[in-house]
Amino acid sequence: MSYAIETLDLTRTFKKGKKKNNSNSKKPELIMALDKVNLTINPGELFGVLGPNGAGKTTLIKILSTLLLPTSGIGLVDGIDVAKYPEKVRKKINMVSGGEHSGYGILTVRENLWMFSQLYGMQTKVALQRIDELMKLLGMQEYARLKISKLSTGMRQKMNIIRGFVCDPQILFLDEPTLGLDVQISREVRKLIKSWVKEKKEKTVLLTTHYMAEADELCDRVAIIDNGKVLACDSPSNLKTSLKQDAVFHIEVNLMLDNLDRFKVVPGVKKFAYEHKPHTGRTDLKFILENDSYISAVTGEISNNGSEILSLSKAEPTLEDVFVSLCGKGLEDENRA
């Protein structure tokens, strides 16, 4: 069976800068953006890559969309090697990146979208009809004739999402498509992605996100990635089921706790993560325990530190808990723990 996307030991390193090892030699420090990534994505699948910032998600999409060459390994799109035959790959793909201000500001929304449809060889009549449909779906009709330099960030992002869909690609790469968008617009974008994949069974979407709810809601399967490595890959429900035998607790305390490493050695704690909330002076703690009986040891440790527990709840495992169990940190605190 031919996969829509396949990666074989896909590796990418970046030079960080010159690092002095000794007085005579300078060797560049390397950052491992992708470390022997092996993934297979089936045609018609909406596949998510979930991971914190800097995990390697964007690098993966850049390689698969022919923007970047891998250091080693192979990336295949519809069976075509992205490094060797980029021209063939480009006929099958499109890509949208979130959180940017791209677009030709001197053109109107409709002109921008039409121009891209033409780069993909669409007939003008078909393209304009599709542009209008998509704009209607995302509530952008009244902005059609507005120059995009006058659009808000959210509207510009919506336009870029439409740009990705307008040429109806066989494989669509969405790199954090809802990054920086408000709740309502994010919801509309997710709705569009879902309906597109549902209507067109043969289309494949590779979506990267660090919003676990987004991955949970949209994706047939999710790969959890951190530091360039795929830690797990399965359907969201299967990933969550893997934590069923564990006890997941969310605790909110009234202090900005320090010396959090001590929780790692509390008996029964398998993994934990935390998030400081400077605006409230509180800290959210997430524990994955071997079973419920160990919660008293955890609360005891918190009390010993002089903190007060504001709330404690036993939670159903989420994808974020899966992430915590796999790498011992939350999606938002990749620089900590």
Binding site: L67, L68, R90, S102, Y104, I106, L119
Partner: protein, 285 residues
């Protein structure tokens, strides 16, 4: 298959041309744009005229002045089109943040870059026509429109524009690897061509080693043939021994070599840019 590819390339060129024109013409209202388009080339010519008058202390030679005037006028193509093409990379990557989407579209970048340069080609052509008219009417440059060798002129012009496009694509490739240096690069390269290709100095006056470079550059023959087609003669002693046909052949040969070189270097640099992740690297310079 070949027909489909041709259609695709023409479509890309047309689209990029439209986009380039929208950018070129939208920065000011049409009236201001028209005034600017007329005044700028005339002002450039006047600078040259006064420089010439000062250097020759008023003892003008019409042959020499016409040589310089035509070289300087047609050299506008080199600066403007070269800049127009190579700057696309910087502009699309940094300003519009669109280079990544253009790059991954199923098009050939050559045609996109050339298309974006067309707007500069059009505005420069207008500027050159205005300058030539100014030269004929005000500066009394001896151009007899009835005696111009039009076939030679148009063939030479088209080949020359192809040469400049190749150079522009070469520079666009280099721009992929640089941050903000393409402007300086274009200026620098343009300056070298200005000196070496006989735009104002006859190549006979250049040092021997520089003459070798001059003879290797198709733009040298381009300017020579343009002068011959318009004035019916030229002042270059080195090139005088060649007939128009011979010069045309030499120009075609050097153009073919340059096109191959430009293609090779562009592909090489594009590969390096992909390897280094420079295609969409925004540095907000």
């Amino acid at each position: 298959m070949a027909f489909d590819r041709l259609k695709e390339n023409l479509r890309t060129t047309r689209l990029a041309g439209k986009l380039g024109w929208a950018m070129e013409a939208n920065w000011a209202d049409p009236f201001l744009f028209a005034i600017y388009s007329i005044i700028r080339p005339i002002a450039s010519s006047l600078i040259l005229v006064f420089m010439y008058l000062v250097v020759t202390r008023g003892k003008t030679s019409f042959d020499l002045f016409a040589y310089i005037f035509l070289g300087n006028t047609f050299f506008m193509y080199v600066y403007n089109v070269l800049f127009g093409i190579s700057w696309v990379i910087h502009e699309d990557r940094e300003h519009y943040e669109m280079l990544r989407y253009i790059y991954i579209a199923p098009i050939r970048m050559y045609y996109y870059l050339f298309g974006r340069g067309i707007a500069k080609l059009i505005t420069t052509t207008i500027a050159i026509i205005i300058t030539l008219a100014f030269g004929m009417i005000v500066l009394k440059i001896p151009i007899d429109l009835l005696k111009v060798n039009y076939p030679l002129f148009f063939i030479t012009l088209i080949v020359g524009l192809f040469v400049i496009t190749c150079l522009g694509i070469l520079l666009a490739g280099i721009t992929m690897l640089t941050a903000h240096h393409s402007f300086a690069l274009t200026e620098g390269l343009g300056g070298i061509f200005y000196l070496a290709c006989g735009a104002i100095f006859q190549i006979d006056l250049l040092p021997n080693w520089l003459q070798y470079i001059s003879k290797a550059l198709p733009l040298t023959y381009w300017l020579e043939l343009l002068r011959r087609s318009i004035l019916g003669k030229s002042l270059s002693l080195t090139l005088a021994k060649y007939s128009n046909f011979q010069l045309l052949l030499i120009m075609l040969l050097t153009t073919a070599l340059l096109a191959l070189f430009s293609d090779y270097i562009y592909k090489l640099i594009e590969h390096v840019a992909r390897k280094k992740g420079k295609i969409d690297q925004v540095i907000n310079y």
